[in-house]
């Protein structure tokens, strides 16, 4: 059985605290990982400058080339992971077994992470708006207009408290390495696979091992990473995000409440967008923050809800190895039962209708896991509580709301796909500060253009633009 041990700036550390990673369906241990406490993390963070120093020995061009090589290795090679060699198939199988995601979804997340890394040069070029990356290395430089620009690294390493069951989010920390910023990662207890495999791929591709810290552990380890690194990202609930709101040291990623807004000018043709809406709701088992949780329109909302329900309502549990499997398991059954209970509360409100009621039981309980089958709910007004809900399974509320009120009432929206040709609505959507990523036109909410920033530009998070003036020193008279 594979054992994953902590990595302390490239050096494996044999922890005495070994925990099991278990199979979501059988409860059988499939791997072991050693964990560390906050004390070890805190001590290591005192040496974080060495991680950046090791990366600075390589130019950004070299690190970009290594990243591209790492992308290839990550996606195709047998790599040393923990105390074993891991093939791609083993990776997919292990990730599926511990997270409950169907294997084909694990493969697509693998490809997504690899894709981002293999295009990292283009991504950095876009995120920096064409800045010579040497300026980030050196801290300042001449950009071509006769003016010095300076971007100062705000941290030697990026800390990240990674989620348990969402292998797609790892794209967000990948740019750190070619930016010569080290990584201190706390892998999720059920999804240590991507960070371990990715770090192995980076090291095999020639990135100095000293740039990486992997610290599996509890809240204590995560807390230490966040306290001791000047810049960290965390993935969690709405409460987690609220807890770190306004803290410039922390980029908190939580629920997305991503939405599709249909303008009055196109809503009569809603059927043209049905495939796009279904994909936005159902992809990746509805587990991502970029999955659509709300579809807002001023009319036809019942027909829209019924049509989506007809497509996704019958989706049922299939084995994770089945290429047609659309549903991921809740590896903690109580999360499914709790979510189901919350949905029942939502449905109890007047004006809320379960459009998937005719498609059978939603909560499927197994011995070690549980599933929630897709749900489409109609809300006759944005005043209904369900209009603002997002759950970790394919769940969408179709909300009836006058166009004039829509942008004022949607609330935080990570991805907002706006279907309209109305220039006024396009302009208003572009100006709406509640929408982070705006898609004008039929772009599924889950399809991200990686050349654009996601929930803030990582360059702005890791580097600070500032003044840097240089003048020649006068030559002494006796020189």
């Amino acid at each position: 059985m594979i054992t994953l041990q902590p990595l302390r700036w490239g050096k494996p550390y044999e922890s005495m605290e070994i925990k099991d990673v278990v199979h979501f369906d059988t409860g059988e241990p499939i791997a072991k990982f050693g964990s560390v406490g906050g004390g070890i993390v805190a001590r290591d963070m005192k040496q974080a400058h060495k991680a950046r120093a090791a990366l600075l020995k390589h130019s950004t061009d070299e690190l970009i080339a290594m990243s591209k090589k790492a992308a290839e290795l990550f996606e195709t090679a047998e790599l040393p992971v923990g105390d074993s060699m891991q093939s791609v198939d083993q990776f997919v199988h292990q990730q599926s077994a511990s997270t409950g995601l169907p294997e084909h979804m694990c493969r697509s997340n693998l490809k997504k992470n690899s894709f981002v890394l293999s295009h990292i040069d283009e991504i950095l070029d876009c995120l920096t708006r064409g800045l010579d990356l040497d300026i980030l290395s050196k801290g300042y430089g001449e950009e071509g207009r006769g003016v010095i620009v300076s971007y100062q690294a705000q941290t030697p390493v990026l800390g990240a408290i990674l989620p348990n069951n969402s292998p797609g989010v790892h794209t967000l920390w990948l740019p750190a390495i070619p930016l010569q910023i080290g990584l201190a990662l706390k892998p999720g207890s059920q999804e240590p696979w991507t960070p371990y495999r990715m770090v192995s791929a980076f090291i095999q591709a020639g990135v100095p091992a000293e740039a990486f810290g992997l610290y599996p552990g509890g809240h204590d380890a995560g807390g230490a990473i966040m306290t001791k690194t000047p810049r960290s990202m965390i993935f969690g609930s709405a409460e987690t995000v609220a807890q770190h709101a306004g803290n410039p040291r922390v980029q908190a990623h939580g629920p997305g409440w991503s939405k599709i807004l249909i303008g009055d000018d196109v809503v009569d043709d809603w059927e043209l967008y049905l495939d796009m809406m279904v994909e936005s709701v159902l992809s990746n088992s509805g587990r991502s923050c970029i999955n659509c949780s709300g579809i807002w329109a001023s009319r036809h909302t019942r027909e829209i809800a019924a049509a989506i329900a007809k497509r996704i309502g019958p989706v049922d549990v299939l084995p994770p190895t089945d290429d047609n499997a659309q549903l991921a398991a809740f590896t903690v059954p109580a999360m499914a039962t709790g979510t189901h209970a919350m949905v029942q509360q939502d449905l109890a409100e007047s004006g809320v209708t379960d459009m998937t009621a005719e498609y059978g039981d939603k909560l499927i309980e197994r011995e070690h896991c549980a599933y929630l089958r897709p749900m489409v709910v109609h809300a006759d007004s944005p005043d209904r509580g369900v209009a603002m809900k997002e759950y970790m399974f394919p769940f969408v509320s179709v909300v009836e709301c006058p166009q004039a009120e829509m942008l004022r009432r949607i609330g935080p929206t990570l991805v907002g796909t706006v279907l309209t040709r109305d220039p006024e609505l396009v302009a208003a959507a572009g100006a709406c500060v509640d929408i982070d990523r705006v898609n004008i036109g039929p772009i599924p909410t889950n399809r991200l253009n990686w050349l654009q920033p996601h929930e803030g530009n990582i360059i702005d998070f890791l580097f600070r633009s500032r003044a840097y003036q240089v003048a020649d020193l006068p030559v002494a008279a006796n020189a």
């Binding site: 922890s15 005495m16 605290e17 964990s35 560390v36 406490g37 906050g38 004390g39 070890i40 805190a42 001590r43 005192k46 204590d220 807390g223 966040m226 306290t227 409460e239 609220a242 807890q243 803290n247």
Partner: protein, 377 residues
């Protein structure tokens, strides 16, 4: 007889048998005290009528304590506190120590001299080489309504030293965590640690200290940030406790915080396990060779720990097997005939220093673990 039982050396088995005899004898004495009309507490004298048996007649050995219902710590919430004072101690000055209480009514235990006696017994287990008599102490942990400050201070005085104290309010720490005010939490910790560093570097000849694991970790880190260490400021011996202790943490502490194993000149550190109900259980000496395994032994016969089956709390598990920790307190001040701790662990065999059962691998009881906030200070 299990393999572990059969491997207990004959002399230890003899000592264990003697210890059991003393425990049985002590149990009879304590039950007699607490259930006699002229010496017992109002609480137990009143409870007697609900028991369905006559403690004075029917309790003939320690095992007979299993006739009692499990002690419910809810009984300790709210007053009057006087109902716990044995009549035999009427008129004596009484302390009250509390546990919990972040929200709601804390659990209260009245104490007269038990905390002194517990820590005097504990003192006997501390090696003079590492806890030099006459040297001064630092107490870095919760005070206020907790027992710890007065107990550690008494320990220092009992050993001829003076105790410097830094206060930490765990109820506020729990609130900070629940509110998610992590920056405040860090600042509060820093506030405590800064005071500790100041005391340690102020020429008070402090050689011994108590700290909770988390505070010890932070103190070591703060001293290192200032270019010094626990060793360099003169600390020779530390006892730590109050929150969960793991072999991994102990190893980290020894290897990276205390200057290496004690035999190589590092600072001596001994884990303890205890609470307001029981007193203080000491650890078998912790060594790298033994995988930094931590095994606690209660100060029998004043207190007893058992590791019992998850399915039957009156059934002790075999040596090396896992179960829930059950506590008994048998002093003339306080009587607890079996309290189910919020911890689980493995049953440990007697050995020469403590010829009675111990418990190792103590961790939150798995059925309660998710609801428990551990290691907050």
């Amino acid at each position: 007889m299990s393999a572990a039982q059969s491997s207990i050396p004959e002399d230890v088995a003899k000592s264990a048998s003697d210890a059991r005899d003393r425990l049985n004898e002590h149990t009879l004495k304590i039950v007699h005290w607490h259930f006699s009309e002229d010496t017992g507490s109002p609480f137990w004298l009143e409870k007697k009528s609900e028991l369905g048996f006559a403690p004075l007649k029917d309790v003939k050995s320690f095992d007979d304590l299993k006739k009692f219902p499990h002690f419910e710590d809810e009984w300790l919430r709210g007053g009057p506190i006087q109902r716990w004072i044995p009549k035999g101690h009427a008129g004596k000055p009484v302390y009250v120590f509390e546990t919990g209480g972040t929200t709601g009514i804390p659990k209260s235990r009245m104490v007269i001299e038990d905390h002194w006696k517990d820590y005097e017994l504990f003192s006997d287990t501390l090696p003079d080489e590492h806890f030099p008599r006459g040297s001064n102490w630092l107490m870095l942990g919760p005070s206020g309504p907790r027992r710890l400050r007065l107990a550690v201070e008494h320990l220092a005085q009992h050993r001829g030293g003076i105790c410097f104290c830094i206060d930490l309010d765990p109820r506020w720490v729990v609130k900070l965590i629940k509110k998610g005010w992590m920056e405040h939490l860090e600042e509060y910790k820093k506030h405590c640690i800064d005071q500790a560093v100041t005391v340690l570097t102020a020429g008070h000849d402090i050689k011994c200290m108590f700290a909770t694991p988390k505070l010890l970790e932070s103190l070591g880190e703060a001293l290192e940030d200032r270019g010094t260490s626990l060793q360099e400021v003169g600390i020779k011996g530390i006892f730590s406790g109050g929150t969960e202790f793991t072999p991994q943490w102990t190893r980290f502490c020894v290897e990276e915080l205390l200057g290496g194993p004690v035999e190589e000149g590092g600072v001596y550190m001994t884990p303890t396990y205890g609470n307001t109900l029981m007193g203080l259980a000491c650890s078998k000496p912790v060594t790298a060779a033994d995988g930094y395994k931590i095994s606690y032994y209660a100060p029998q016969p004043r207190a007893v720990t058992e590791v019992v089956s998850f399915d039957d709390y009156n059934q002790v598990v075999g040596f090396g097997e896992t179960g829930r920790v059950k506590l008994y307190t048998l002093t003339d001040e306080f009587f607890v005939p079996g309290f189910m701790e919020r911890d689980e662990g493995e049953r440990e065999a007697p050995f020469d220093m403590y010829p009675w059962d111990g418990v190792s691998g103590v961790r939150p009881f798995h059925e309660l673990a998710s609801a428990t906030t551990v290691g907050v200070y």
